[in-house]
């Protein structure tokens, strides 16, 4: 991959060293996320990093995604786990949605689908932001040359998250507790980047206290990868997502 900064290239080389497999880059304009990194599993010869073309700051997206893989690779093999849904989440979300919200017949009809999508989104955020903050902190501490790229990337993520506050289908909207990880990440971004404006919308939406609690949990735990699962579990307990997922042993 051309045009990546030496620091980013160095992170990728470390992945190759630890895993014994190279990272392959694939532009993908259909991606809904900025970038994803698919581990080389089931005999695959490369890890595949998909990214949206014309996606600045690419260094940050690549380094951030690489951070997840590095944290996994740095763990002893018997401590590597996959995050998998148990199938309980959608029903739990449906209950949350149905409680205290006036619903029309249309809302009733769309409730299962909305709950399914919301549950999937919530679990993805739970893991991504809990561990993602640690990756951000690691990037900020270790790679000052990437700071500008990181600030731009984190700002872009904050902007992308804001529509979640008003996302709805009929009268159905994302339950406030499930916005906790996003609020925590806004508060975290403010602190890391020396600002205090990312938290404003979440304070107004009444979710910042939960975000602050989640952030406190993060800061209370050692930052190494060994505690990533513990952190995710603690966040899940604070939000009410315990039992929505399970950790299954990682199979290369």
């Amino acid at each position: 991959m051309k045009n990546l900064r030496p620091d980013t290239v160095g992170i990728l080389q470390r992945i190759e060293t630890l895993s014994g497999r190279p990272v392959e880059f694939k532009p993908d304009s259909s991606l809904t996320l900025r970038a994803t990194l698919q581990l080389a599993r089931n005999g695959a010869s490369t890890h595949v990093l998909r990214y949206r073309p014309a996606n600045e700051p690419l260094d940050y997206w690549v380094a951030y995604q690489a951070g997840y893989l590095l944290r996994l690779l740095e763990l002893p093999p018997d401590e590597r786990f996959d995050f998998a849904a148990t199938g309980a989440a959608a029903g739990q979300v449906q209950e949350l949605l149905a409680t205290g919200q006036p619903m029309t017949d249309t809302d009733e009809a769309t409730l299962p689908q909305f709950a399914q999508v919301t549950a999937h989104w919530a679990m993805m955020n739970l893991r991504s932001y809990a561990i993602g903050m640690r990756i951000d902190q690691w990037l900020a501490n270790t790679y000052p040359a990437l700071r500008e790229s990181q600030a731009a990337g984190m700002d872009a993520l904050q902007q992308e998250n804001l529509p979640l506050l008003s996302k709805r289908l009929g009268n159905l909207s994302i339950p406030v507790p499930l916005l906790g990880p996003v609020a925590a990440y806004a508060l975290f971004a403010d602190r890391l980047l020396g600002r205090s404006m990312y938290a404003i919308p979440y304070r107004a939406a009444g979710v910042l206290d939960l975000g602050a609690d989640l952030l406190a949990i993060n800061y209370a735990m050692p930052p190494d990868a060994k505690h990533d699962r513990e952190l995710v579990d603690a966040w899940a307990a604070a939000i009410g997502m315990t039992g929505w997922y399970a950790w299954t042993p990682y199979k290369p």
């Binding site: 902007q159 008003s166 709805r168 107004a204 939406a205």
Partner: protein
């Protein structure tokens, strides 16, 4: 970069607001929400634009006041005034001493016909910036639309005082002075307006109107030339008809003044001929002829050229412009004597009738 987000009303944490402003849907609630975000973002050196509707609170935050106004101005230019007003209102909360914001809000209210609201904002703008000529003009226009000519005139005078080299303020004051019959002063301002805005149609038309009212020969000539220029340069303006009528009146005036005692024997002969023709052809045909001349007259009859250059479908022969006008006058006198054809051939008409009776 601007930050933009919505929060559904039911999701907003009302504990952030004063206790007496927590009732969703009230004005107190809306104002408190505006103030909340204005204060939150002001602490970050940003300006917040906030609107509150029946469902959502919409917030846009900008790094500085100027960029926030830059966001609203394109809305105004696109005619989205109703949409822009809540944002401007929001801006006045976060930037209460910004004359540009108050000016744009005042003009927006004026455009929406809310003149009292407009005047409050515009007066605040000129309090902050007495040299804001356009705000004075805005006040003048609002009063003018409220049919309050005295305060309107006063505001327009303040506008010119604030910026004597602004063509629009001169033009507005000139127009207002015409209404007050202060024609000489109006002409001074309208001439200056044309110096500053040589192609401005309203300045051209306004000066022509003012000159027309002085009634002197020189002023009439200048006014006629200005009306002609207006018609040529702005053929689609709704004021063209009025300009054409004014030009016709000038032509008649010249016509009369060029004749001894104001009486035109040639017109009397045309009228006499028309009386005979109508007697022979009957009322229906007379009406068709009159209508055809009237239609022809809409694009202008040159009554100063004696050449027979016009033809009619309803009547054989070739006619000069004056001849046709006399025929039309005769027809209308017979159909409806109270109708104004723009020409006064009453003396010639009377003489023609008397001549026929002999």
């Amino acid at each position: 970069m601007a930050t933009e987000f919505k929060i559904p009303l039911h999701r907003f944490d009302t504990n952030l607001l004063p206790a007496d402003a927590r009732q969703i849907g009230t004005e107190a609630f809306k104002t408190a929400v505006l103030m909340h975000f204005a204060a939150e973002y002001a602490a970050q050196g940003q300006t917040a634009l906030v609107t509150v509707d029946d469902q959502d609170i919409t917030v846009m935050a900008f790094p500085a006041e100027a960029s926030a106004l830059d966001f609203v101005l394109p809305m105004l230019k696109a005619g989205k005034i109703v949409e822009a007003v809540p944002y401007l209102e929001s801006l006045t909360k976060s930037a209460p001493a910004n004359a540009a914001v108050l000016y744009n809000l005042g003009i927006s209210y004026s455009e929406l016909g809310q003149y009292d609201e407009a005047i409050i904002r515009l007066k605040r703008a000129v309090q902050l910036d007495p040299g804001h000529a356009h705000a004075w003009v805005g006040i003048g226009n609002a009063y003018h639309r409220m049919r309050k000519p005295e305060p309107a005139l006063e505001a327009f005078e303040k506008a010119v005082e604030a910026d004597p080299n602004d063509g629009y303020t001169r033009r507005n004051l000139g127009g207002m002075l015409i209404g007050f019959k202060r024609i000489d002063e109006a002409i001074v301002h309208l001439r200056k307006a044309i110096d500053l805005l040589p192609d401005d149609p309203q300045a051209i038309f306004g000066l022509a109107t003012a000159l027309e009212q002085t009634g002197t020969e020189g002023a009439d000539e200048e006014a006629d030339a200005l009306y002609l220029r207006f018609i040529n340069e702005h053929p689609n303006s709704p004021m063209v008809e009025q300009a054409e009528k004014a030009r016709t009146a000038f032509a008649h005036k010249r016509l009369k003044s060029s004749a001894v005692g104001g009486f035109r024997p040639d017109v009397m002969m045309y009228v006499a001929g028309a009386l005979q023709t109508f007697k022979k052809l009957g009322e229906k045909k007379r009406q068709m002829i009159a209508l055809e001349i009237a239609m022809l007259g809409r694009s202008g009859l040159d009554i100063n050229d004696p050449a027979d250059k016009y033809t009619l479908k309803a009547l054989p022969g070739k006619f000069s412009g004056l001849h046709l006008l006399a025929i039309m006058y005769t027809a209308f006198r017979q159909i409806d004597p109270t109708m104004n054809t723009g020409a006064d051939f009453s003396a010639e008409y009377q003489a023609a009738l008397e001549m026929q009776q002999k």
